[in-house]
Symmetry: C2
Subunit: 293 residues, 2 copies
C-alpha cells in the first residue's frame, strides 16, 4: 500500500498547505506505470474479444443466409441431398465450432497479466482512495473553494486539471460519507446530480445519488427534505426496499414531531418499530463498513 494524502500542489497560493505526508509524489508517478500496463492489457483484451465476435458474426451470417434460403421452400430444400448434408453439417461439426468459440474464455490470459501487474507493481488500495479524496476536501476547505468550480478543475477561475465526471463527484461524496462528513457528502452528491443531468454517457446511477443525498440530508437535520428525496427515489424505483423502510420512518418521525438530529443523542439509535429498525440497521452497517444503507 502507498500513502496518498494532501500533496504539494505547484501553485503559489497553495504553498502554505499543510500536508501530513509529502512522500506520495514518487508513488503516484509509479502508479502511472502500472496504469499503462492495465490500459495495454485492457486494449489487447478488447481486440481479442472483437476477433472472436467477428468470427461468430461470420458464422451467424452464413447460418442466416442458408436458413433463409431453406425457409423459402422447405420441402424442396431438404429433399436435395446436398442441402440435407450442409444442413446437418451446420448443426454438427460447424455448430461445435460455434459453441467452442462462444465458450472460449478470452479473458483468462489478460486477467492473469492484470493480476501479475497488480501484485508486482505499485497498486492503490481503497484506503489510498480515501486519502486522495480527503486531500481534495481539505484543499476545498482550506481555500473555501466553490464545489462547482473545483469540479471543473478550476482554482480561482484558472483551469488546472480535467473536469470531474459525475462519478468522480459521487465518489468524493461517498468517501466523505464513509468519513462521517455529511456536509461534504451533500456538496459533492449535489454536484454529481448536477453533472449527471448534463452527461450524455451517464457515469453513475441517479438512484444511488438520491440515496446518499436523502440520508445525509437527514443526518444534517432536514427530515422533510430527506422524505422528499426518498419519495423521488421511490418514484424512480418503486420496489426499493431500503427507501420504502426509510419513508415509513421519516413520516412517523415528522408526525410525532419528535425528530432529533442523529448523533446529538446516542439514545436515538435505540429504536423499536419496524421502519426504524431498517434505518438503524443501515446506519450501523454504514458506519461499520462502506455499505450504502
Amino acid at each position: 500500500m502507498f500513502r496518498c494524502h494532501l500533496l504539494i500542489v505547484p501553485l503559489l497560493f497553495l504553498s502554505q498547505v499543510r500536508c501530513e505526508v509529502f512522500t506520495a509524489l514518487a508513488d503516484l508517478q509509479e502508479l502511472l506505470n502500472t496504469e499503462a500496463v492495465l490500459i495495454h492489457s485492457l486494449e489487447n483484451y478488447i481486440r481479442a474479444e472483437e476477433l472472436k465476435i467477428d468470427l461468430l458474426k461470420r458464422y451467424a451470417d452464413i447460418y442466416n443466409k442458408q436458413h433463409n434460403k431453406a425457409t423459402e421452400d422447405v420441402e424442396s430444400y431438404v429433399a436435395n441431398p446436398l442441402n440435407a448434408y450442409t444442413l446437418v453439417k451446420r448443426m454438427t461439426t460447424d455448430w461445435q465450432e460455434v459453441e467452442s468459440l462462444i465458450t472460449t474464455d478470452v479473458s483468462k490470459d489478460y486477467m492473469a497479466n492484470i493480476s501479475y501487474a497488480k501484485e508486482n507493481m505499485k497498486f492503490p488500495t481503497d484506503e489510498d482512495l480515501n486519502g486522495a479524496a480527503a486531500a481534495v476536501i481539505r484543499l476545498q476547505d482550506t481555500y473555501r473553494l466553490d464545489t462547482a468550480s473545483l469540479a471543473r478543475g478550476e482554482l480561482n477561475g484558472v483551469k488546472y486539471s480535467s473536469e470531474l465526471t459525475a462519478a468522480d463527484c459521487f465518489e468524493l461524496g461517498r468517501q466523505s460519507y464513509n468519513n462521517g462528513d455529511f456536509y461534504h457528502t451533500l456538496l459533492w452528491m449535489r454536484e454529481a446530480d448536477e453533472r449527471l443531468s448534463r452527461e450524455q454517457n451517464k457515469t453513475v446511477d441517479k438512484g444511488e445519488i438520491l440515496e446518499y443525498l436523502a440520508f445525509s440530508t437527514y443526518k444534517e437535520g432536514n427530515i422533510n427534505l430527506a422524505l422528499d428525496l426518498t419519495n423521488k427515489l421511490l418514484e424512480m424505483v418503486p420496489t426499493h426496499e431500503r427507501a420504502k423502510g426509510n419513508k415509513v420512518y421519516y413520516e412517523e418521525e415528522i408526525q410525532k414531531g419528535s425528530y432529533k438530529k442523529k448523533g446529538d443523542d446516542e439514545t436515538d439509535d435505540i429504536i423499536t418499530n419496524e421502519g426504524v429498525t431498517i434505518v438503524r440497521k443501515y446506519i450501523v452497517l454504514s458506519l461499520q463498513w462502506e455499505t450504502v444503507w
Copy 2:
C-alpha cells in the same frame, strides 16, 4: 437421433434412386426449427458481447485520454490533488468495474438456451452427418457426377443448390475417409484444396487437407505422391510430428522398393520399424475412431 440416408430428390432424372430410408424429410424440416432457435441464441449472444465490449471501449478511451494527459508532464500532473484523486480512483473503484465487466461470463445464459434447444428439439448426431454425406457420395456414384460440378450445386449443368465451401468438401472427404473410402476422400479433398485457394475467408486449414490427401494417396498405392504431399505439409508446418514420422516411413519404403498397397495383404500391418509403427498407430486409430492421423 434421427436417420438421414439418401433422400428423395425432386428431380425427374433422379426418380429411380434407391433409398434405404425414406422417412428423413420430416426430420430435416424439424431440424430447420432447431436451427432457427440456435441462430436466434447466437445473434443475441453476439449483441450482448458487443454491448460489453462497447462499454469496455468507453473505459479504455477515458483511461487513455487521462493517461496521455498525465504523461505529458508527470510531475505537475500528480502534484495536483484533483489529478491524484482521479488517478487513484481510476485504479480502484473504476478498475474494479472494468475487471468485473471483463470477468462477466456473457455466454452462460445463451449456452443454457442452446443446451435446452439441443435436448428438447430435434438435433442431429455425428452418425446423421455420416449418413447425409454418404447420401451425397451415393448420388455422385449413381449418376457419375463430376465432383467440381456437384460442389457448385449443379446437376447436368443446372444449379439446384448452393455452392459448397472448402470446409463442406473437406467434411465430405473426411466422412469418406472414416468409411474407409479413400477414392472419394481423394476426390473431395482435392476439391476442398481447389476451393480453399479461391476463398477469401478460409473455411478450412490447408494442412489438414494435405494430411488426408497424403494418407489417402498412400492407401490408393501412390507412395511417391504421398511423400511429395507430406513434404509439402512439412514445408508449411516443419514441426508436424506425424508428418515427420510418415516421411521417414515413406522414404524407407521407397528405398526398399518393397511397398505394397495396404489392404492387399493383411500382413502389411504387421510392421516393426519405428517409422512404420507411427503410421500403423494412426491407421489403427483412424479405423477405430474418427481421429485424423
